[in-house]
Every structure is written in C-alpha cells, then in structure tokens.
Symmetry: C2
Subunit: 410 residues, 2 copies
C-alpha cells in the first residue's frame, strides 16, 4: 500500500470513528460528489465494518450542477425536492448520522445570476429547516470533512505545476486533520482536550461582551446570559461523541442577537453559493446588519444578508489563534472548513442551541427569548489576523485581554 | 472533436430526443452509475437545451453496492427507502420522464448469499409497485439504455487486450443503437416503421396460440383475446412518443397467464440480481412454473421464481429474428438489454397493460380477468436460436409458420 493509500485509509477511519462516531446498527448518510468516490468508498467500507446497518450515499456532480445553473429555467431554482427533504428529516429522526464530504470548486457558480443562487439557497434552507434545527441542537451526529477536487486544487495552488496540485492539496488536508500523526485517533483526543482548556477558561470568565479591534474593525459583541463556549467534540442526543468539523481549531459561542454594534472587516475570501466574496466589511446596529461593502462579490453578499430576517443578524462568534496549525501553513483554501479554522470568524444566520445552558431542549421561542438568532442560513466569514486584539468585558465592567496580536492572551 | 466524442454526443441526443423524447418544462429522472458520468453529463446538457425544467440524476456506485452486499447486516436488505419510492411515484404522477443508463457488471453480486439479493428485489419491487404499473401502462415516458463499464467490458471481451475492451464495447453499442448512421434519428424512424410492419401482420393474424419447438424446447403459449403486438416506439398518456429500450429489435405481446404449457430452454446466459444464470430450462403447467433447472445459478433462478405468486407465471412473449443486427454481431453481452434484442425471449413476471385492447385504462382486476399476469418483478430470458421454429395457431385451428430456423417465416 502506498503512503497515499495508507493516509486515505487513515482519513476514512478518522471520519467514521471520530467524525460521526458510527454505532452498531446505525445508518450513515454521506452527501458527496462523484469526484470523491475513491475516498467515499473507503468510508462506506469502514462504516459497515464497524457495524453500520446502512450507508446511504447521496452523490452529486459539479458539472451537472453548473449545467443546471446555466441552462435550466428560472423556476427550477425556487424548488427543493420535497421528498429529499422529508427523507433527510426522517433519517435524522431515526438516529442516522450525517457526513458531508466537501470537494466543490469554491467558484463553481461564478458568473451565474445571483438570484438563481439565492433562490435555491432559500428553497433548500426552508425545506431543510427542521433538519438544521436537529443539527444545531446536536440531536444527530454530523461531520463536515473535505477532499480535493481538481478545480479546487487549481484555485489553491495556481502557481504549482498542474499535475502536482491535487497532491499538494491532499498533503495539506492530511496535515490539517492530523492524518500525518502516528496515531491520528489519539492525536484528536489530545487536541480535543487542549481546546477544552480554552473552553473551560472562557466559560468560567462568562464575559458579558467582547470588543474586537483591528484595521477596519471596531466591533462589540454582547454574549447572552448563560452562553456556553464550545469546541472540538460534541455529544449527540444519545450521549455519543462526534466531531462536527474536521479540521477544527475553534472555540465558539453565540452572540446576543441584538447586542452587536460596529463594523467588522473580512480578512480572507469567503466562498458562498459557488462564488467568492472578498475584501468586505459588515456594519451592525443593535445586532442588525445595516451596511455591507465588498470589493468582490458584493451582490452575492447582499443576497446572503437578504435571505430572511435572521440572516440580518449574527449566530456564531468563534475564536481561532492566528498561530493555529492551519493558519501557519499559509495556505488560502477558499473553503470555509479550512479557512475558518485559521482565523477568528463570525457567522451570519442561525445560532447553535447547544451554546446556551439548557438550549438543546428549548423551543424556538425560548431560544429567541434568550437572545439566540434563527434563520434558514448559517454562513461563517473570516475576520482574524495578527493585528486583531479582543478584550473581554465582565459583568462588573472589568476589561481583560482575550486576544493580543491575533493570539490567545491567556 | 474526436469521432468518439461525436458519437457520444449523438448518443446523448438520441437518448433525449428519441428515448424519452423530453418536452419543454418536463422533468427528467436519470438513474445511473458514477462510472457513466461522462455520458450522463452530455444527456443532462442536451435535456436542458431542449427545455427540460429539471434533471434529477440518481447516481449509484457498483463498489458501494457490492460493499453493502458483502458487509451490511441481513436486515438492510429487507428495506427499500420509503421516501425514494414516494419521490419516484410523485415524479411519475407529475409527468416526469425516466431514463436508466445501465452499466453494471453483469456478475456484480457473484458469491453473495442469494437471500440477500432476493430480499432486496422483493423490497424494491414492493415499494415501487405503483411506479411499475405506471411504466407498464405507458403512463410515463421511459427508456433503458446502456454505456460500458470496465467490469462489463472485461466480461464481454475477455480475450481482447485489456486496454481495448471498453472501446470495443462502445463500438458495439454505437452500432447497436445506430449511432454509426449518418442520421441516427432518421434511422430510428425507419427502424420503427420496419418493426411496425411485423406488428401489423401479427395483430391482423390474432393467433390464439404459439407453439415453440427447438432443442430442449416444446412450449405452447396461449395469447389472450384482444392481445396486441407492440414494438419499437410507444406513446405515453399525453400522446408523446418514446422508445422504451434502445436498442430494440423485438415485437412482443402478453401471454395468457394460465395458458402456458411445456418446457423451454435458455439459449443465452441471463444476468439477474448481479449473478449469471446459464443453461437453464423452465417447465410450465397451466401457466405456472412447476420446475426449473440450471447448470449455473439455479439457486438465484429459484429465488426469482419465488419472488411472489406472479413470478411463477409469464408476462411477456417477444419475437426477435436470429438475423437481427445485434445477433449478427455474435457478441454475448451478458446484459438483457442487448441479448434480448438478439433472441426470441419470454419474461417471468408482470405483463404490459398496453399489450391488450383498452388495457392502459384498465384496473388491475380487469387486467387479471383478461388473463394478464401481475407481479412485483419482470425478468426477460432468452430462448431463441437458429434451430427454433414457431407455429401460430388461429382461432379455427389453422397452423401457420411464424418462425422457421430462427427467422421470420413471413
């Protein structure tokens, strides 16, 4: 077996054992692209070997997707297949685990009319609304992982010889998800512990507000009473651990919906709806987005904010040191799964119910009362840099350093 | 564009325009394998260019399927995803067209316990029972076509150098579906006419019985009153033509469920449920299968007959001259779509409602009263050879030659 084949096999094992942590008799749903077949086949085999009852693979194809966006009539984008949504929800209710294996080109839909993209985002967001609630309250085990595609590798390594780009991206991913370690499963256990020391510190502090400053950024974020910092491993309804993102270097919590004020500037491009949004800033007043500007992709950013009422507010606050291993690689992935783990970030849209005390069992109304935002969308964007300072402000008004020059201050 | 690319494009056009004959605003459902992606992408593009509203591609993967059959627990094979079945039925009711692009290895499931295969055939047959009725009464437009896969090409051309096998199979398929003609669409129109002269002759004769003789075969098949011979083009509920199989060289009708007596021997191997059944014979008494024998795959043949009550009876009688172009190619495809069009054949299982006068609008009970068989399965098997004679027996007892030495006698 070549080193590559060995790494691929170790990655598949990690995805199944640490990512979704499949249990005997459970169903695994994999959403992926046909270009990821080699890897997905290993995941399927691994899942059955551990005792999965069934593995449902929902294959997509970027070429078919792009063809549809180019040639289908407008009305095709206002519908999401009803039965697919029902199937997804039913499988979640039966206790299935969900794995997304991401490989799409970050600018797959470049040049497509932005209404088509936003209409489909709205249609799918609405159809899958119940499923999103299950995910955002950790009812089900879920994980997002990535494997290279040609188009994605071309974007990340444009200056490398063409036939080496995929391999370079594989190497970067293997490093980022710790497949290069002797015992990756053990490495993830240790990583989980490390992130939890930060989580514990922040939860003890229970800051009332965070104040961000950096070039183009002066932002205050109120944190709701009872907010919980989370990081790395999660625990599903039945008590089983899972890793929602691989890689993950963040600790995160929820902002108070109406407690965000000031302006924040992006520090990395954001791939959203198959388009790249770059060099943008967002201004908030009492939580609501009142202005957006972007050097690239402003229209698609505007459409994102206009998705629904909740997409005018934030749903996540995440801290990632500028010295995180992914950040140190100096690779710009144009893929949020990686770029968000190299940078402090925020998310526009819905908030995670598990980030507030007792939230997993709260109704939508109770969550709203606590200050948590709801939306059919949830999109992370990167704001961290080595010039970012963050202060934590406690209930009694004490100001403490949380981040200095992009890194943890404690 | 290379000749191969040109042929692929012409094939995609044929599949969309002649196969399912897509109409503006219609949805096309494609069931296929990820190995067929290059061809399927052209079909998707062609369908949107003609005006399809949506193209739903249901991708499968032979490796994932085989892995499931090898490793999943027994209970995984007794279920068919409820929502997938509902989606298929709903799409048919909304007027979608259905295309199967077949490429699976004919012996994909060799060595798998036959109960797993038959259980899944039963589960899917039951779940899709309503959909099968729509197909078998020509409510929807549907077509079955094929593209090579490596494993399939290996089986068909085992003696050719390995790197030429796929190309050889492509060439054979391009010929069989008339893509090598100057104007394939026109060629299909002419072919349709030719087959209809046979259909018209047989419908005028309205034979009461057919009597088959060949080595190992002495079989009498009663044809129900009002039976209709069909061939080549079909017409859906809305009046649009389509071609259910490409290639197609057969004319066919329904047998009377309880009017089949004697023994028939196979002349080509049959790939069923991912296994090959070879050198087999089937004996009928008053329509019911009372004995089966097979040199290879007898257990899987027995499981097929035991699928349900209807799988103990015949549902189709089809005539194909031994001199058909596909037969003349002398290629054994191990794939019913091709082999059935090189040979007289019969089908175990359900009968086509459109093969009886007024049948498209009859209830299941009315169809049964006319002598048409019903089952959750429908499996063709090949019985033709250059040694086969068939007599037609009219209502007044006159015996006329229909086939002599494997070819049309009129």
């Amino acid at each position: 077996m070549s080193t590559f084949q060995e790494n691929l096999q170790k990655y598949a094992e990690l995805a199944v054992k640490v990512g979704v942590n499949i249990q005997k008799g459970q169903t695994l749903v994999i959403n992926t692209s046909i270009e990821s077949a080699e890897f997905v086949r290993l995941v399927v085999k691994e899942a059955y070997q551990i005792g999965a009852k069934n593995v449902v693979v929902n294959w997509g194809d970027d070429v078919v997707t792009r063809t549809k966006y180019e040639l289908a009539p407008d009305e095709a984008f206002t519908e999401y297949p009803e039965w697919r949504a029902k199937e997804t929800i039913a499988l979640a209710e039966e206790g299935a685990a969900f794995m997304s294996v991401v490989s799409s080109s970050p600018d797959l839909l470049k040049g497509i009319a932005s209404e088509r993209i936003s209409n489909f985002q709205k249609a799918s967001g609405t159809a899958l609304s119940q499923f999103r609630k299950y995910v955002q309250s950790d009812k089900v085990s879920w994980t997002v992982i990535a494997v290279p595609s040609k188009a994605w590798a071309n974007l990340v390594f444009p200056d490398a010889p063409e036939d080496t780009r995929i391999e370079l991206l594989w190497d970067a991913i293997f490093k980022a998800i710790r497949v290069d370690r002797d015992n990756p499963i053990q490495a993830w256990k240790e990583h989980d512990k490390t992130l939890h020391t930060k989580v514990d510190y922040l939860n003890e502090k229970a800051y009332q507000k965070l104040h961000y400053t950096a070039p183009g950024t002066d932002l205050t974020i109120e944190l709701p009473k009872g907010h919980l910092w989370c990081g790395a491993g999660s625990i599903n309804e039945k008590g089983f651990e899972f890793m929602a993102n691989m890689p993950t270097e963040e600790v995160f919590t929820v902002p108070h919906k109406t407690g965000v004020n000031g302006t924040v500037s992006s520090t990395k491009p954001l791939s959203y709806g198959g388009n790249i949004i770059n060099n943008f800033s967002v201004t908030f007043k009492d939580g609501r987005i009142v202005e957006v500007k972007a050097e690239e992709g402003e229209e698609i950013l505007r459409q994102l904010v206009e998705t629904d009422e909740g997409s005018h507010y934030l749903g996540e606050v995440a801290l990632v040191p500028h010295r995180s291993p992914i950040s140190q690689s100096n690779i710009l992935y144009y893929n949020t799964l990686f770029d968000e783990n190299a940078s402090n970030h925020l998310a526009i849209g819905s908030a995670y119910a598990f980030c507030i005390e007792g939230g997993k069992k709260m109704s939508s109304e109770e969550l709203a009362e606590k200050g948590l935002n709801d939306s059919i969308t949830h999109v992370d964007f990167m704001i961290g840099s080595d010039k970012m300072n963050i202060d934590g402000i406690t209930a009694d008004g004490t100001v403490e350093a949380v981040f200095r020059n992009g890194d943890w201050a404690f």
